[in-house]
């Protein structure tokens, strides 16, 4: 009895030693080539963001291929794990848990709506990984205590302010507000009201409406009750299309200001020139005179055959910025160390670069770089937010046309 136990113990010892040796061997094998970087893409493929998510995922893949073809970031090639958040926070939480816990991703890119970023932020921050979004809800800046969240689109704090500045500059006196009931849109409308009232003006009706309805006539009637000369529509494409149809039919005569993502060229095609000529839209100006943007548009058209949306350019920049930060942080850096390098590769000073390869080569020489992205020049502030230039657009003969470019004093 005792003998066999000893024998077993000896066998166990041999086994353990063998196992340890095998593990050490495999460890040595791993160290020879840099580990791939596990990249999570969380996109709104379906739901309200479904108009943008697929293009963003495509842009992520384009950027990823460019980095991988160049030999990877700090030698680490990207490996993609993509999930659909359905533009819903509950689905997004499940998806991000899968990305973090099962796929063990080291960064999440491509988040479109604020509701998704706010719901997934506690999970990614707890796991110590970075997340990149195009969100606009101002509270994201406050919730992110770890400096791991990066906004590639203007905060609604700023968009709301620009709405007020534009309305004032154009001589409007009596605005009303219609806002989609979510944190992003209500914040945008609130910041419009705040800026407008600080300038001594008054806002007539301030209506927050529930989405997914057949008709918004009663909401519209309430907004129009104070006979506004301009209505701020903080909303998304489907609702705005219905609202504008009903507005035209109601016979009211006022102008509109909307965010650029709500009234696109496609919406104007549906509604016709009589309606579209009343609308001013405001969005981030893509850095259209920038090399990165031109190259991105070419690559995007080659793959999809269509022009990229604004958010696709943001998604492309997310991956390139991440790759440059990995390059600077080195192959063994943790996600937190990588995040700490993001401002170093995007903000001035440094030599301006527009591709991953340019940036990587300069970083290798030990030089400072300033990535000028396809979506904007990307200068990240204290809270990981960008302050882009804004394009004020109108519709000439039903065609979207840039009227002026505005920058906000920060």
């Amino acid at each position: 009895m005792v003998r066999s136990l000893v024998a077993n113990r000896r066998q166990f010892g041999q086994l353990a030693a063998g196992l340890a040796a095998a593990l050490a061997g495999s460890g040595a094998a791993f160290a020879q080539g840099a580990q791939p970087f596990r990249l999570g893409a969380l996109n709104s493929i379906t739901g309200a963001g479904g108009a943008y998510g697929p293009g963003m995922l495509e842009a992520i893949k384009i950027a990823m291929t460019q980095v991988n073809d160049a030999g990877g970031a700090a030698g680490r090639k990207f490996e993609l794990f993509a999930e659909d958040d359905q533009t819903k926070p509950d689905a997004a939480v499940l998806a991000v848990k899968k990305l973090v816990e099962i796929n063990r991703v080291e960064a999440v890119v491509g988040i479109w709506p604020s509701s998704v970023q706010l719901a997934t932020l506690p999970i990614t921050n707890a796991a110590g990984i970075t997340s990149f979004n195009t969100c606009g809800a101002p509270e994201i800046e406050m919730v992110d205590k770890e400096d791991l969240v990066w906004q590639f689109y203007a905060s609604n704090k700023m968009i709301g302010r620009v709405f007020a500045e534009v309305a004032k500059a154009r001589g409007f006196k009596n605005p009303a507000v219609l806002a989609y009931n979510n944190s992003t849109m209500v914040a945008q409308a609130e910041y419009f009201r705040k800026t407008w009232e600080e300038g001594g003006g008054k806002v007539g009706e301030f209506i927050v409406y529930e989405p997914n309805q057949t008709s918004y006539r009663t909401e519209l009637d309430r907004a129009l009750a104070t006979k506004p000369d301009i209505v701020v529509l903080s909303s998304y494409t489907p609702d705005v299309t219905i609202l504008l149809k009903e507005w035209y039919q109601s016979g009211a005569e006022n102008k509109f200001i909307t965010p650029g993502w709500a009234v696109t060229q496609k919406v104007a095609d549906i509604l016709g020139p009589e309606i579209s000529s009343q609308i001013t839209t405001i969005s981030n100006v893509p850095a259209s005179n920038n090399d990165a943007y031109a190259k991105f548009v070419d690559a995007f058209k080659k793959v999809t055959g269509t022009e990229p949306e604004m958010f696709a350019a943001c998604a492309y920049d997310m991956v390139i910025v991440l790759a440059l930060a990995i390059e600077l942080a080195g192959p063994t850096a943790t996600p937190k160390e990588i995040a700490s390098k993001i401002r170093s590769v995007t903000n001035a000073p440094g030599t301006k670069v527009s591709t991953f390869i340019e940036g990587r080569d300069l970083l290798k020489k030990g030089e400072e770089i300033d990535y000028e992205g396809a979506s904007s020049s990307l200068e990240f502030g204290e809270f990981g937010n960008t302050t882009p230039a804004f394009g004020v657009y109108g519709f000439d003969d039903n065609k979207l046309a840039l009227k002026e470019v505005m920058t906000l004093p920060s």
Partner: protein, 291 residues
């Protein structure tokens, strides 16, 4: 609140109510005759709306042709799923059919998104300014929509109450075994039922698409409202479904004048609750003894 605003809200609620009465009637008929709540109704509507978009792209931009073809296509779709799925589940518990209908809803919606994508589409209809009767505004488009819905509803009531086919349908609804024993062909009744369901859901989808925009979630989002109004009117009662939907539509629009518009649906459900507290069987429902 001045009365002109209230009248406008009532008109708006009535139009929405009449429009959604079409799918509500489809739900209540299925419940009355095939005895399960058909969760695919919303997505049949979506299918109808997309069929209308397709018709305008490839066949004709005439709204009458569009509405006819789209309703017919949805009718065929409903018959197809009846023959393929619901017929085989007829002798199983209603829960099996309910779950199957949820599955069909997903299949229809996902197939639509697969081919058409997530971007919204539009059914081309002329935009005309409203008629203004000293503040009371009537949108011509709304008037056509309401009239079309009203005619369709009248047609189905005519069918149910003045034809022998309608009598047979009502007999099956009352007692399928007895109806079958007295020589009524259940198969024919079912085929008629599912044709009506498809035609009505499809037409509802087209009208909704004209008023709003065509998206994959178009009908699914409205399912809760439709079910609620069917319960409000009394499950299985066609007249109840229509009245329930009208009451629901009007109460939510009028309610939104008094509370934040974000709460108007809550208010509408509150009205339902009040009615059901007084009449638990719904406005036109019958109390059925359970043996």
């Amino acid at each position: 609140m001045d009365w002109v605003t209230i009248v406008n809200a009532v008109i708006n609620g009535a139009v929405v109510g009449l429009l959604l009465a079409l799918p509500a009637l489809a739900v209540t008929l299925v419940f009355g005759i095939a005895r399960f709540p058909n969760a695919a109704t919303g997505d049949y509507m979506t299918f109808g709306a997309y069929a209308a978009v397709m018709t305008q792209m490839f066949v004709s931009t005439s709204l009458v042709v569009t509405a006819l073809l789209a309703s017919l296509a949805t009718g065929l779709l409903a018959l197809f799923f009846y023959g393929w799925v619901f017929r085989s589940l007829a002798n199983r518990s209603p829960v099996a059919s309910l779950i199957a209908s949820i599955g069909i809803a997903f299949v229809v919606r996902s197939s639509i998104t697969f081919f058409a994508g997530q971007s919204p589409y539009n059914i081309q209809a002329p935009l005309v300014r409203a008629w203004n009767f000293s503040g009371i505004r009537v949108l011509p488009t709304d008037l056509y929509i309401a009239a079309t819905a009203a005619v369709a509803l009248a047609a189905v009531f005519g069918l149910l109450h003045f034809t022998s086919l309608g009598r047979r349908m009502r007999a099956v609804a009352d007692n399928p075994e007895l109806a079958s024993a007295s020589g009524i062909s259940i198969r024919r009744v079912m085929l008629t039922l599912w044709s009506i369901v498809g035609l009505f859901s499809g037409l509802g989808g087209v009208l909704l698409g004209i008023k709003a925009v065509v998206m994959p979630e178009l009908g699914w989002e409205l399912l809760l409202t439709i079910f609620a109004s069917v319960i409000l009117g009394g499950l299985g009662s066609p007249i109840g479904a229509v009245c329930g939907m009208l009451l629901f539509g009007i109460s939510q629009e009028v309610a939104s004048l008094y509370v934040g518009t974000a709460y108007k649906i809550v208010l509408a459900f509150f009205v339902i609750l009040c009615v059901l507290l007084v009449r638990p069987q719904g406005m036109f429902g019958k109390i059925i003894a359970v043996r």
